[in-house]
């Protein structure tokens, strides 16, 4: 059993505290926007925010999230209004298959918090998610657009 705060809601989650946060979010809480891609923090599909910082939830145990604010892709839009990164993603038609994009968007949202006007070098250093469809050209354009928004 663990008390988690996810997207602003506090809840008791019936799970072994050693379970990766990713699977607790997907299976116990039922929020499936956060994706499994590798399980070893290589691909970034599982990226969520803990206290505003991007983390790869497939290697973070539930116990490490107790007492902290967890935000998933479902919690990024506020009051039914898309986050500016999501909005830029729609305008630039970034997703292809879309499977990695929740993680990509969460990573970018965290980057923009640290660096509101990122350079290309900042993007290269800060965004290391894998996308097999190869959306990177649109990702870069959309990051700059979101930074201007």
């Amino acid at each position: 059993m663990a008390r988690l705060t996810i997207n602003g809601r506090s809840m008791e989650v019936d799970v072994n505290p050693g379970t990766p946060l990713l699977w607790a979010i997907r299976e116990q809480v039922g929020l499936t926007g956060t994706k499994y891609g590798c399980g070893i923090a290589q691909c970034g599909s599982c990226t969520v925010h803990i206290d505003g910082a991007a983390v790869r939830s497939c290697v973070i145990p539930v116990s490490a999230a107790v007492g902290k604010q967890v935000t998933t892709i479902e919690g990024l839009a506020a009051g039914g209004v898309l986050h500016k990164v999501q909005q830029a993603w729609v305008e630039h038609e970034v997703p292809q298959c879309g499977y990695c994009q929740a993680g990509m968007i969460m990573a970018v949202a965290a980057l923009l918090k640290d660096k509101p006007k990122p350079t290309d070098a900042d993007i290269d250093a800060g965004i290391t998610n894998i996308c097999r469809c190869g959306t990177f050209q649109q990702v870069r354009q959309a990051i700059h657009a979101a930074a201007r928004a």
Binding site: I6, Q28, K35, G37, I40, P95, Y99, I127, R132, F136
Partner: protein, 726 residues
């Protein structure tokens, strides 16, 4: 999605959630309205492709699968173009394979591979739209008691021109659905297209940015359990024994079951519980004779084929061997291409529910009909007792088209727990170890030059795997696999785009125990490297410019010449490159399209490659949605350059050694070149888009690498030579 109860139990997430398949079943004939086929919400079907709702919403049926390539939107554009409907009110749905069987394949082929989504169905889907428009207009004319020829349709509004009266599709749909479809309809001249050729926004973007899109991995069904599986790591091996008792008491574990004779699955309340137990489960394997095979033994097997006498010849003109034998200068090179895994971001998965009377499967698949066939075979039930619900894919790249091993497994597990839906999820490790790999191929290329540097003959000897032999042996031509020669055909959609003084292209088929599959582009990936790098080698040996050398053999190939010229012009071929930057070219014909690329790279320290810019041209005949074509082109360089620099599946003791992205890497944004697309549809034919461009990525960069360093690399990936993409 959270319930109002703060305490969330392990299983509560499945309770009260609707079956995702619900909205997918279409075309159910329900007993009201004479001969009208109705969608599930009762709206009438005008043709198999078009349902019109009373509020003027148009539902367009899509038989192919959306896996990121945009075919859902492109095919809807094709139907809507002829239907003359309001694009802002278009939505789509997948017909099910079971319905297709019942309706004598009214939606045609479901398979989504070979870049065929649009090019193989453009005519009948446009007819589906045109037929529906004709019927809707006729219904309005009938109501007004005027000739249909006095009526026209645009934006879902029908107008009687002489009187100015109007009505909408939604209002006449019921009457239109009762009409007999016209036997023949005329399709628009391409010059009159308003929607085809336009970069309208994709129809499926929003749920992909909110997390709302349900992939196979995300499926929830009431009472569902989750399974994960280990198949014998050595292909062809079997399970000797496993000790279920050791894990049956672990949290959440419900069942430990054999799957066929080669795999074991743990079925639990959640994936994580199933995976934890499977990791702890002692399994003894009977690995069989393939356990002695390694990459080295396979390489030796292929190498022997390079000089074998027994071969399949697919393209021959003149006496190339004699021409090369008598040449002033003989150039020879041996190339080798590795096994590669598709590694789509979403690992393989399928959900199955079995009872003795019915078997249902929910699966992300590139071919619903093939998934249906796998369901029938594994369940042992007839077609009228099976159904498959397609789910959009988290990437496919060929892995989810001809192969439905994960469907078979899911059904075999579900059969052991009748009545309970079981979602089978593969780990990334299972996905890496049980792919259907890009075939291995070696090639020896031999060319002859006369004293003046003119090419006298070319011989390309392929030695390696045949996908067709392994997957569709009925398609072999007296044992020959024509697909192994993609891009080298004398004529047809994969034709060789040079006319040489003499030519011989042959294949020594050398199959292995590692199962080959259709990997985005298929055999063009290695064939374009072989030919287009060797063309540069010949040009270099002849002391000629790589572009000029190619052009000599392209007089009879104007469309290829046009794309090649387009990239050369745009990149500034023949003019000085920026300091430290070097260029390379490549072109190829495949899937009926013509593609060319020019790369600009710099190399530091002799082995760190920065790809600055790629200019790519494509002539796909017709460009249905240019914005999506641009994305397919840019993405092709990610997939193609990841393969060139980073990706190889090696074999040790009969199994694949790479188990995850830490040993099977993929390009990141920092390594992404600027890709400039030139889309130059010349009309008159329909070519593919999803795959062709991928094959020019590697040779264009390899030729630039030679121009930068003087090093000609002939085996891949480049990481094996200490060369990295930065």
């Amino acid at each position: 999605m959270l319930t109002s109860t703060p305490k969330i139990s392990r299983r509560s997430f499945v309770i009260g959630t609707a079956a995702v398949g619900g909205g997918l079943a279409v075309g159910l004939k329900i007993p009201f309205g004479a001969d009208v086929v109705r969608a599930q919400d009762g709206s009438p079907e005008i043709t198999a492709w078009v349902v019109v709702r009373p509020d003027d919403t148009v539902v367009i049926r899509i038989a192919r699968s959306e896996m990121g390539q945009g075919t859902l939107t492109g095919l809807a554009q094709m139907v809507a173009e002829e239907l003359e409907c309001d694009w802002s009110k278009v939505t789509t749905e997948y017909p099910t394979p079971g319905q297709s069987v019942k309706r004598k394949r009214v939606w045609g082929d479901f398979s989504t591979g070979g870049s065929r989504g649009i090019r193989m169905s453009h005519e009948y889907v446009r007819q589906g739209g045109a037929t529906a428009r004709t019927m809707l207009v006729q219904a309005a004319a009938d109501a007004w008691k005027v000739p249909a020829s006095e009526c026209s349709a645009a934006n879902s509004v029908i107008t009687h021109r002489p009187s100015g009266r109007t009505t909408t599709y939604g209002k006449v749909a019921e009457a239109a659905a009762r009409l007999t479809p016209p036997a023949k309809v005329a399709l628009k001249d391409p010059k009159d297209w308003k929607l085809i050729g336009k970069s309208v926004k994709r129809l499926d973007t929003l749920p992909k940015v909110t997390g709302a899109q349900v992939y196979g991995f995300d499926l929830k069904l009431p009472g569902m359990l989750t399974a994960t599986i280990k198949d014998c790591p050595v292909f062809g091996g079997k399970v000797k024994s496993f000790e279920a008792a050791k894990v049956k008491g672990m949290p959440g574990v419900r069942h430990v079951v054999p799957v066929g004779d080669s795999a074991v699955a743990v079925v639990a309340d959640t994936y994580w519980e199933a995976k934890t137990a499977l990791d702890a489960l002692p399994i003894a394997w009977d690995e069989g004779p393939n356990a002695t095979v390694s990459s080295a033994t396979i390489a030796e097997q292929l190498k022997a084929g390079l000089d074998a006498d027994q071969v399949f010849v697919h393209n021959q003109s003149g006496d190339a061997k004699a021409a090369i034998g008598g040449a002033a200068k003989k150039i020879e090179a041996v190339y080798a291409y590795p096994f590669q895994n598709h590694a789509p971001m979403e690992p393989m998965n399928a959900t199955a529910k079995y009872t003795p009377d019915r078997c249902e499967v929910w699966v992300p698949t590139q071919n619903g009909e093939a998934a249906f066939a796998a369901t029938l075979a594994a369940s042992g039930l007839p077609a009228d007792k099976c159904e498959v619900y397609k789910i959009n894919l988290g990437g496919g790249f060929g892995r989810r088209g001809a192969f439905h091993d994960y469907v078979t497994q899911a059904v075999l597990i579900a059969k052991q727990i009748p009545g309970t839906p079981v979602k089978l999820l593969w780990s990334r490790e299972e996905d890496m170890l049980h792919g259907r790999y890009h075939p291995v191929m070696q090639a020896k290329l031999t060319g002859g030059l006369d004293a003046a540097g003119n090419l006298t003959g070319l011989h390309i000897r392929l030695s390696g795997q045949s996908i067709i032999t392994a997957v569709f042996p009925q398609m072999l031509q007296n044992g020959k696999d024509a697909l192994a020669f993609q891009g080298f055909w004398p004529t047809g959609e994969h034709s060789l785009e040079y006319t040489f003084p003499s030519l011989l292209i042959d294949h020594a088929m050398r199959n292995t125990h590692v199962p080959p599959g259709f990997w985005r582009g298929v055999n063009i990936n290695q064939n374009a490297i072989f030919l287009e790098c060797f063309m540069d080698e010949l040009a270099h040996a002849a002391g000629q410019d790589a572009l000029e050398f190619r052009r000599k053999f392209m007089a009879k190939h104007p469309k290829s010449l046009a794309v090649l010229n387009a990239v050369a012009d745009r990149v500034g071929w023949g003019t000085p490159a920026p300091a430290g930057v070097h260029r390379g070219l490549a072109h190829f014909r495949c899937f009926a399209s013509y593609v060319a690329a020019a790369a600009e790279i710099s190399v530091s320290g002799g082995n760190k490659v920065k790809v600055h810019r790629i200019v790519c041209a494509t002539d796909p005949g017709h460009a249905v949605n240019p914005a999506q074509i641009e994305r397919q082109i840019a993405g092709s360089f990610v997939y193609g350059l990841s393969a060139l620099f980073m990706e190889e599946c090696t074999v040790k003791d009969g199994h694949i050694e790479q188990t995850n992205f830490n040993t099977y890497d993929s390009m990141r944004i920092a390594q992404m070149p600027k890709v400039e697309s030139i889309i130059m549809p010349s009309g008159g034919f329909w070519g593919g888009v999803g795959e062709p461009t991928i094959c020019v990525a590697a040779p264009a960069v390899l030729n630039a690498f030679f121009n930068a360093t003087g090093r000609r690399i002939r085996s891949f990936p480049l990481k094996n030579h200490g060369i990295t993409l930065v």
